[in-house]
């Protein structure tokens, strides 16, 4: 496996220009959609099957009652332990040699188990193609030594692309500096490979709690309970089975009848 690649989105540098969102649409040839009123500058409300990069405009009340922007360019997290990948029954969702998670559009049959298994609600069902869609980490570009279109186009370097270990070290320094500057809630989200989901290969620097950005504080792998739930089902089967045996058993000895 090649060295793991990553995207580091430093929300403290984002100016909300949405160049990333447009670059993503252009490069990936994602068609026009109906815009969506969200009550803020943000459009759409969430990722869609045709919007893989989305700049979130979060309004946070300040102490004097005015509102301040929290800007965040959001994207598929390319989790090290990916719920969508584990859920996929066809093998369409796979991990590339760079550690990113991709959906093979020629194999996906549109069962939509991945859609309901993403802890971030990223994967979306495309009604036109009948398949699941999400950010590809510009799979074609990274295989040709180009960064993802969003990172390449970002004018403030809010989105950076590179080797995961190098970017994570950079992110640590940046968060320490921001804390020094007085951003006491500055924190990394998904940078730690020992953290939730084994770390996110698209990780973030946030200026507030994850929940402020509509991110789960502690994302969990949806498949963590398969064994427990299955064993409970087996227990249930044994009880139901014993009940049925009791009901059908011939009274006064063994059931020796012939059907």
């Amino acid at each position: 496996m090649a060295r793991t690649l990553a995207m580091f989105t430093d929300t403290s540098l984002c100016i909300g220009c949405r160049a990333c969102q447009v670059a993503c649409k252009q490069w990936n040839e994602l068609p026009l959609e109906q815009p969506e009123w969200t009550g803020s500058y943000q459009n759409h409300a969430h990722f869609t099957d045709k919007t893989y990069r989305l700049v979130r405009f979060i309004e946070k009340p300040k102490e004097n009652g005015e509102l301040a922007w929290l800007l965040m360019s959001d994207v598929c997290k390319h989790c090290a332990q990916a719920g969508c990948l584990e859920a996929c029954p066809t093998g369409a969702i796979y991990r590339t040699e760079y550690g990113t998670v991709n959906i093979n559009q020629d194999v996906c049959n549109g069962c939509r188990y991945c859609v309901t298994s993403c802890p971030f609600g990223v994967v979306a069902f495309n009604h036109d193609t009948g398949t699941a869609n999400k950010c590809t980490f510009c799979n074609d570009r990274i295989h040709n030594n180009l960064g993802p279109a969003c990172a390449k186009t970002c004018p403030t370097d809010s989105i950076q692309f590179g080797y995961r270990d190098e970017l994570a070290a950079k992110a640590e320094k940046r968060v320490a500096k921001l804390k020094e500057m007085g951003h006491k809630d500055a924190q990394l989200y998904g940078a730690d490979t020992n953290g939730p989901l084994g770390g996110l290969n698209a990780f973030f620097l946030l200026l507030d709690r994850p929940s402020t950005y509509n991110l789960p504080e502690k994302p969990l792998l949806p498949q963590r309970n398969v064994l427990a739930d299955s064993l409970l089902s087996v227990g249930s089967a044994l009880l139901v089975g014993v009940g049925a045996v009791m009901a059908f058993r011939e009274r006064g000895g063994k059931g020796g009848g012939h059907a």
Partner: protein, 273 residues
């Protein structure tokens, strides 16, 4: 922000009919192995019902795919920890068990019957699996409420048992076999399954606590409380226990249980639609 898988009526019907198929099969197989010659109709009806329904289930699932022509893509792949992956394979394995059991139930030969009993006893594992894995599939997703429900698989299994047995009694009644001893035995087994299901449902709600809100207090709540709990479980149980004195036809509880089983799948799937 989580996203709905847009699983709607086809999936509700699949969960309902797949539960009946599994329940009818293991009921018939248990009757075959532990019952007597008077249970012959239970056995035949159970095997053929499960065979018919599993074929229908396959069609429902294929139609629900975004690209139905690619349904075989699930057969080129196997993940033992993924309920949908095992489920796709087990659908085929169950179909094979149901087919052979059905075919052999037509034979009068003793050696065939011996083989059928052993074959079907092994097949009960696939029947139990089919009735319960859909619950485990839902409880291992990222959706709120579904993913909090640890006993969803157990609940689906109990419901698959009660609806499978109810479907057998309904068919026995319609084919004029309701007077026999076999009919009484199915009803006895169903009574146990219903009581068990009611207990698992109580455990399900207790373990979920406030996470059960989409069922217990949302717009699905009237359907859940009235349709499933009262009409689908409490009334048929009461009728079953005291029905003889009330002159209620013996088939009424079975019909109510089937309605309740459908409503259970409906409210659970639609809670995240």
């Amino acid at each position: 922000m989580l996203r709905s898988p847009e699983w709607h009526m086809l999936i509700v019907w699949y969960f309902f009919l797949g539960g009946i198929a599994g329940g009818a099969y293991f009921t018939a197989a248990i009757a075959d192995n532990f019952g007597g010659k008077k249970d012959r109709d239970v056995i035949r009806i159970g095997y053929f019902l499960s065979l018919l329904l599993i074929a229908l289930c396959g069609i429902l699932l294929i139609l629900d795919l975004g690209v139905p022509t690619r349904f075989l893509n699930m057969m080129g792949f196997f993940k033992f920890w993924n309920p949908m992956s095992i489920g796709a394979w087990m659908l085929g394995v169950f179909g094979m068990f149901a087919f052979v059991s059905s075919a052999l139930s037509l034979s009068g030969s003793d050696s065939m019957a011996r083989f059928r009993r052993i074959w079907s006893l092994i097949g009960t594992v696939t029947g139990f699996f089919l009735a319960s894995y859909t619950g485990v599939l839902l409880s291992n997703s990222a959706q709120p409420f579904w993913s909090d429900a640890r006993v969803m698989g157990a609940l689906f299994l109990a419901s698959g048992a009660s609806t499978g047995m109810a479907a057998i009694s309904l068919l026995m009644y319609l084919s004029g076999e309701a007077a026999g001893e076999g009919f009484e035995k199915v009803k006895r087994a169903d009574r146990f399954a219903m009581i068990f299901e009611l207990l698992v449902l109580a455990l399900f709600l207790a373990l979920l606590g406030s996470a059960a809100a989409p069922l217990t207090t949302g717009h699905l709540a009237p359907l859940f409380w009235v349709g499933l709990v009262i009409v689908g479980l409490v009334v048929p149980l009461v009728l079953d226990l005291v029905g003889a004195g009330l002159k209620v036809p013996a088939v009424v509880p079975a019909v109510l249980v089937l309605i309740g089983g459908f409503i259970m799948r409906y409210v659970i799937v639609m809670a995240n639609a």
